[in-house]
Symmetry: D2
Subunit: 279 residues, 4 copies
Amino acid sequence: MTELEGFIYPRTPTGAASVVPGPPWHYSGEMLTVEYRTDPANVAELLPPQLGLAPDDPGAVALIWAEWQSCSDDFSELLDPVRSQYKEVFLVVRCTYEGQVYSRAAYIWVDKDFALARGLFQGYPKKMGDIWMTRPVTIGKAGPRLAVGGRFGATVSTWGRRIADARFTITGTSETAGFVNSHPMVHTRQMPSIESNGEDSLDELVTMRGYDADLGPIYSGDAELDIFDTPTEELHRLEPIEVIGGYYRQVGNSVAGGTTLWAGANPRAGKSQTNERAD
Amino acid sequence: MTELEGFIYPRTPTGAASVVPGPPWHYSGEMLTVEYRTDPANVAELLPPQLGLAPDDPGAVALIWAEWQSCSDDFSELLDPVRSQYKEVFLVVRCTYEGQVYSRAAYIWVDKDFALARGLFQGYPKKMGDIWMTRPVTIGKAGPRLAVGGRFGATVSTWGRRIADARFTITGTSETAGFVNSHPMVHTRQMPSIESNGEDSLDELVTMRGYDADLGPIYSGDAELDIFDTPTEELHRLEPIEVIGGYYRQVGNSVAGGTTLWAGANPRAGKSQTNERAD
Amino acid sequence: MTELEGFIYPRTPTGAASVVPGPPWHYSGEMLTVEYRTDPANVAELLPPQLGLAPDDPGAVALIWAEWQSCSDDFSELLDPVRSQYKEVFLVVRCTYEGQVYSRAAYIWVDKDFALARGLFQGYPKKMGDIWMTRPVTIGKAGPRLAVGGRFGATVSTWGRRIADARFTITGTSETAGFVNSHPMVHTRQMPSIESNGEDSLDELVTMRGYDADLGPIYSGDAELDIFDTPTEELHRLEPIEVIGGYYRQVGNSVAGGTTLWAGANPRAGKSQTNERAD
Amino acid sequence: MTELEGFIYPRTPTGAASVVPGPPWHYSGEMLTVEYRTDPANVAELLPPQLGLAPDDPGAVALIWAEWQSCSDDFSELLDPVRSQYKEVFLVVRCTYEGQVYSRAAYIWVDKDFALARGLFQGYPKKMGDIWMTRPVTIGKAGPRLAVGGRFGATVSTWGRRIADARFTITGTSETAGFVNSHPMVHTRQMPSIESNGEDSLDELVTMRGYDADLGPIYSGDAELDIFDTPTEELHRLEPIEVIGGYYRQVGNSVAGGTTLWAGANPRAGKSQTNERAD
C-alpha cells in the first residue's frame, strides 16, 4: 500500500483531505487582551498535578480575543479565505513547572475546525464558539481609530449563551501587552484509552513557542469584563476581583513545533490483540 | 394604545426589537471589485420594463465583495460587533431611466439579517450567503500587503454550493475604482398582494445616494473570476467574456434616505374589508 | 425586454434566483406550544392602532416552537433539504379587528432566508435566530416518546444570547392544542418610504388562513418557560404571570394567499420624478 | 490541588466545561445508506499498512448520512437540544486486520463540536461540514412517507462546496441495511509528536461496538449518488462504478468503550525535560 499523507488527521492518499495541513503555520491578526485578577484558588483548581501557581501575582489571568488570518507553508489558504480566517478567545493563566513560569490556555474557543484541530495538536483544549470583536478602521465613522478614545467590544457565546463580554477604550500606548500571556505555553495533551477505564493512552505536557514574531505597536487602556454563569462553561469560576488593564495589538508569527516536557507511557503499548481484546 | 417605535419591522413598544434601527446608517469597510464584460443581452434580460441598457458599454458589469462594519446613529452596535459586522457580494449592472444612467444591484447576498432588512428597504434584493474575502495585513506573513503583488481571494456560496470565486493581484494604484458601480443606484421595491393574484401592493423605483464618503486609496490590478452554474442562482447567466480589471478600496460612508422615482398605486388602498374579504 | 419571473424578489429571467418560489407552499412539521398569561397591558402595548385586545382573557399569549419541512408546489426542495428544513419560534397574541378575534405573531424568529422572505410576504416580522427543539423518537434512549412522561426542551437565541427556554412534559392527550393560536392571523405589512420621512409606502392589514390541514394527535402537558431580558428583544416585556399549559402536535398544511383587510395609499403613487427628486 | 474532572478535554474543576461528557453515550436517529462499488485500488490506497482489503467485494463501500439525537448517561442534553442534535456523513470501507473483517470510516463530517470530539476519541477522523437529509413525515405533503415511492435527498458540503449529493427512493423493505457497515469498526487514533519530527506520540488501532441496539424496520430502494471533485476532500477518488442500493433505517444504540487492537509506544515516554528540551 501507498504511504499515507497528512499530519494530524486523517492520513490519506494525497493529504488534500487533511483537517489542516502540517506545520509550519503562519498567522497575522489582532489581539485584544483583558488582564484581571481572580482569587488564586480559582487558578489553582484548574491546574493538573504537575503544575503549580506562579510565584508572583498567582491570581493574574487574561481573557484574550484574537481575529486571525492563518495559513500553511504554501500560503494557499489565503486565496480561499474561508479556510484561513478565524476568531478565538482564550483564558490564559500562569503556572510553574519544575521551577519555570509558563503561560497556559485553560479554556479556549474557536470558530473553524482547522483551528480546532491545530489547537488540539498543540494542547489547546479548543471548543467551538461564536466570537466577535470590533475592528479598528482608518476610514469612515463605523469603527474606532487606533488612537486615544478608540472603543472596542468583544464577545463570545457558546450554545447560544453569552459567556463573556468585554469593552476596551484606548488611553495610550504601552511598552508591553500585559504579562500574563508573555511566557512560553505549557499545555496538556491527553487521550483516554478506548477501554474507557480511567487510563490515558496519551498523557503529555508540552511547550511551544512561536518564531518570526512581527509585532505592531501596543495600545493600552481601560477594560470592562462581564463573565456569565452558564451551564456548559466554567469560565465564570475565574470571577474578576480587579481588572488590571486592556491591550490591543496587531501580531504576526509562525509556529512549527515544540518540546515534550513530560510524557507518560501508553499502558496498551506492546500488548497484542490476543491479550487485550474484550468481547 | 401607545405609539409603536421602529422603522422597518417590527414596530414595537420600545423599538429595541426592531430588525435594524432606522437611518442614518454608517459604514466602514473594504470593497473588492471585479469588472467584466458579458453579452449585453444578459444585462437586458435582467432589467424591468422601465429600465433600458446603458448607452455605452452596456455589457459591462461588476461583481463586488465587501466586508463592512456598520452601525446606526447611536453607534451602539460597534460595541456588540456581531450586530455590526457583515459581508456582502453584489452583482452591479448599469442601466438607464428617463435618460439618466444608474447603477443597479441585480443580485446580492449578505450574511446578517440586519443587513438583509436594511437592504430590502433600499430595494437591494438581498438573500443570505456565505461570503469570504482575504484581508490585507501590515504585520506577519499570513496576508497580502496593499502593494504591488498583493494577492486576494474572494468567494461566495449559497446552500453549500460555490457560486463565484475571484482572485485579484495588485499591479498598481488607480484614480478610479471602476466605472460600473459609479452612479447612483436605481432599485425596485415590490411586494405582491397577499391575494397572490399577480398584482403588487408595493411597486416602486427608488434611487439612493450615500453621503459623507470617506475613501481610501485605490489599488488596481489583474482579476480572475469563476462563476458556477447552480440551480438556485442565475448569476452564471452573466457569463464573463472579458475581465476588465480589479480594484480594492477601503470605503466609509453614510446612508440616510433616497428618492422615489416612480410608484404604482396599491390596488387595495381605500377598499374596506367588506368588499374584499374572500372566505 | 423579457418578462421577469418570480414572486417576492428578485424578479429575474428564469425565476431560479428567487429568494423563494411563489405560493402555494406546503408544510409538514412539529409544533410545541406554551400558552401563558401576561398582564393584558403587555399585549395592548404591542398592537397597532387599528387592533384592540381580545374580549376574553386578553392577557393569554403563546410562545410556539416549530420545526418544519416545507416546499413549493413542485416539491423540488424536498430533495435539497437545506432549502426545505427550517425552525421557527413565534410569540402569538390575540386581538380584535372590526369586532372579529384574530391571532397575531407579534415576534417571530426563523433560521433560513426562504422562511424569512415568505414570512415578510405574509406580514410575519421575521428575524433570524438560533432555534432548537427536542424531537420525539420511537427508537432508542435518546429522546422522549410521544406518551405520558415524554420530556421536551425548546430554546431560542439571537446574537448569541438565549432569549427563551422552555421545558414540556406530556401528561396526556387533548382535544385542542390551545386557544391562543386558533384564529386566522391578522398581520401588518409595512414599508417606510425611501425618503425616510415618517411615511409608509406600504401599509396594510392582512389576514391569511392555511388549507388542507392535516393534524396529528395532540399531546398536552406541563410547561415551564424562562424569558430572558436581552437588549435586542422585547419578548421579556410579556412577562409570564401564569403558565396555562403546553401542547405538542404534528401538523401539515398548505398556504396560498390571503385577504387584504385594509390598505393605505402609497403617498408617492402617481408622482413623477421631476416633482419628487431631491438632490 | 483538586482532582480534575472530565473525560476527553478539557479536564476541569467540575467537568461542566468538558467538550462532551464521558461515556456511555446514547443515540436515537435515522440513517440513510448508499452502498456502491468503486475500484478496489481506491479502497487500498486509503488503508494504513496494518490493514488489508476485504477478501470479498473489496471495492464495496458505503456513504452514509445520519441525523442523531444523542446524550450522555444523565440524559440532560435532551432538554438543551442544541447540545444533543447533530448530523453526520461517513464513508465506510471494509478491511481486514489479522484475518478479521472490519468496517472503517475513512472520511467523516459532523456539524457539532461535541460530536467531533466524541468521534476523535473513537478514532473517527471527524471534520466539520454542512449536512442535510430529507426527513420522512406521517402528516402533510412536505415530505416522503416511509413507504414505496418515498423519495429522499441527502447532501454534504464543506467550505461552501457540495462534496456529495444523493437521492433515494423506497422500493420495498429489506432484511438487511447493507453489508459494508455491518462489521465492528476498526479505527486509527494518532497524534503526531509536538516536535513535528515525523514520529507519533499516539498510534493505535482500536475497535468499538455499540450495545443495546434498537433497530427500526429497513426500507430499501434505488439510489443515485454524485460525488464532486473539490480541493479539500478526497472522497471523489472513490469514484462510483456501480450503485448497489440504498437503505433507510431508524436506529438507537449506546456506546461505552472499545478495545485497543494495537498500540505503539510514545517515543517520548520516560524522557525528562532536561534531555529533550530544544531551545
